[in-house]
């Protein structure tokens, strides 16, 4: 049997199913649709409503403008009515609501003179939590420029005795405002993080990676079904691991290519060569894992039960939606190594070790299965 012909015919077989083609097209299409939902400046984590009272002074207006133009992960949206904003908060359309008092200048003057604030900014929340604390800090951060400016003005007048007008102070302050980035995020491998990043796409790579794992386990279903039908009767009794790899690759190569296209379409790709290399390792790891599952489960029904179990374990214990450490489970999941290894070579090495160990287990199970054939 010509292995190339064998491989190509297995791939041809998959493409004879319209639903398989539909699935391959659906994945990048859905990614594009999702990406289409992202805004030009990136999707924001949560929406925060902002309302400014009527007859607001210049400081209040400045604060409002600062918030609305902020490049924060939390989007500030203006409301024209306080009641409407509160209702929106109650309907869970926004995460928090802020009311800027009309006489905000007074609040600023009070704080720089260490006096009690009579009319502070009101923040309405529904539930306590770290996100609320973070948002409060972000709001404070929007006020920093005005605080610093007012403090400087007060210092000049009262300490230095320099009578500087508000407008001159503002002009000088803005002219001296450094346009620098003091902090920068980097990955473990030294590459700098993307500046623009869309929150909506955060779990996308992980979800696609789990989908690929499901495809691999589904290939096991196909294999068992074909074996039960006797398709491998005229091949060796199962010793040739190479043949099995070829069989699984017939499923994994089209799906992996779809994965690459989807990742490319989502702009999550880091570097083409690294992506392809990592993906290749991941696919090999998945194939080995799926074969182990096949040999342990043996029947279509049992493999079918394992699929959703692996799905939920991968979604929780691999860094798809969150990073959870639970060694025994993490280390059994190729998805964990793959996602962690996107920017960290230690996990790439981990994946290689995983492949070697899993391959040894697979080979052992195959040999055991060989001895057992007919008796299981």
């Amino acid at each position: 049997m010509n292995k190339t012909i064998y491989f190509l015919l297995l791939v041809k077989r998959l493409f004879k199913r319209p639903s398989f083609i539909f699935m391959l097209l659906m994945v990048p299409l859905l990614v594009l649709l999702l990406k289409g939902q992202t805004s030009d400046d990136g999707t924001r984590l949560l929406d925060i409503g902002v309302y400014i009272e009527e007859n607001a002074d210049s400081d209040a207006v400045t604060l409002m403008d600062t918030m609305l133009k902020s490049g924060s992960s939390f989007r500030f949206c203006r409301f024209d009515s306080k009641d409407e904003m509160i209702e929106s908060l109650k309907r869970v359309e926004i995460h928090e609501a802020i009311v800027i008092p009309a006489d905000f200048s007074q609040a600023l003057n009070q704080i720089i003179n260490y006096k009690k604030i009579t009319n502070p900014i009101q923040i309405y929340i529904r539930e306590q939590g770290v996100s609320h604390k973070l948002i409060r800090e972000i709001i404070n951060s929007s006020i920093f420029p005005q605080l610093a400016m007012k403090s400087t003005g007060r210092f000049m007048r009262e300490v230095e005795g320099i009578d500087i007008g508000e407008s001159e102070l503002k002009d000088k302050f803005e002219a001296n405002y450094p346009d620098v980035q003091l902090f920068v995020m980097a990955y473990a491998d030294g590459t700098l993080a993307e500046e623009e990043f869309d929150v909506l796409l955060i779990p996308l790579r992980g979800m696609l990676a789990v989908w690929l794992m499901i495809c691999s386990l589904a290939a096991s279903l196909y294999y068992v079904k074909d074996a039960n039908n006797g398709l491998f009767t005229w091949r060796s009794g199962g010793k040739r691991i190479g043949d099995k790899l070829l069989y699984y690759l017939a499923v994994m190569i089209p799906t992996a290519m779809t994965y690459l296209i989807a990742v490319g379409a989502s702009s999550l790709m880091v570097n083409v060569f690294r992506e392809i290399g990592m993906l290749a390792l991941y696919v090999v790891a998945l194939i080995i894992l799926s074969n182990i599952v096949r040999l342990l489960c043996r029947s279509i029904k049992n493999i079918g039960i394992m699929i959703p179990l692996f799905a939920i374990l991968s979604l929780v214990f691999s860094p798809v939606f969150m990073d959870v450490k639970f060694g025994p489970v993490n280390l059994c999941l190729p998805t964990y190594f793959y996602l962690k290894g996107v920017h960290n070579n230690s996990y790439v090495i981990g994946m290689v070790i995983y492949i070697v160990a899993a391959f040894a287990i697979w080979t052992g199970l195959e040999l055991y299965n060989q001895k057992l054939r007919g008796k299981e």
Partner: protein, 225 residues
């Protein structure tokens, strides 16, 4: 070429299935294996084809144990199981291409075994659209890709029409004349009558049986022996 099956024993889930099954045959023979359902006939064929490993015993060809020598066995023994060992989505041509090179397939279709099986008439039909007879002929066609010396068949003509059966029997005849040996599990009277020799598998043991055309007597033997 001489084939000797010696003392095949097989246990499945602590239950004895085959006890000291032995049989010798040469080239150009046809042997029928009879027995009630569940007596281990398919198991025996699976052992001879290498799908199962017996507890003990050998299957020798001129002094070489085919059970241990996988590579040789694949070239010598072909097995056509009961199911449909084909890829449903592909055509007959594609299924044959899994096993044949292009040239050998074309040659065989033209004037060889595949042509004799009549596969030309449905060469581009997908398997899921084929009738049972077509599928069985195609399965046989795939099985013989390595020009085997021994053909093991598990109820090959079950649920096929008469014309289809006759076609397959013509092929069996041709195969025998070419020096091949057929081991056939069957319940069909016509097939039994075509066999050179018959054996009954009963109570895990293998007994020779001479069929004289009397089905009632055969049935009694299956029950009582």
């Amino acid at each position: 070429m001489q084939f000797d099956i010696s003392n095949i024993n097989m246990t499945y889930k602590k239950k004895k299935v085959l006890t000291d099954v032995s049989l010798s045959f040469g080239q150009g023979e046809s042997i029928g294996i009879l027995g009630e359902n569940g007596t281990g006939k398919s198991t025996l064929l699976s052992i001879l084809s290498g799908q199962f490993l017996p507890d003990s015993g050998s299957f020798m060809m001129d002094g070489t144990d085919l059970i241990k020598n996988e590579k040789l066995r694949q070239n010598v023994v072909a097995f056509v199981p009961q199911g449909t060992p084909l890829i449903e989505e592909l055509t007959a041509r594609d299924n044959l291409r899994l096993w044949y090179s292009k040239d050998s397939m074309l040659a065989s279709l033209d004037s060889g075994f595949l042509g004799m099986l009549g596969i030309n008439s449905f060469i581009d039909v997908p398997v899921h659209k084929m009738s049972g007879g077509m599928k069985k002929r195609l399965a046989i066609g795939c099985a013989i890709h390595a020009n085997p010396k021994v053909l093991l068949l598990d109820e090959p003509t079950a649920s096929l029409d008469i014309l289809c059966k006759e076609r397959i029997y013509t092929y069996f005849d041709y195969f025998k004349k070419s020096g091949g040996t057929i081991l056939l599990v069957t319940h069909d009277e016509r097939e039994i009558s075509l066999m050179d020799r018959c054996f009954i598998l009963k109570n895990t043991k293998f007994y020779p049986y001479s069929y004289d055309g009397n089905m009632m007597q055969l049935a009694n033997n299956l029950r009582n022996e």
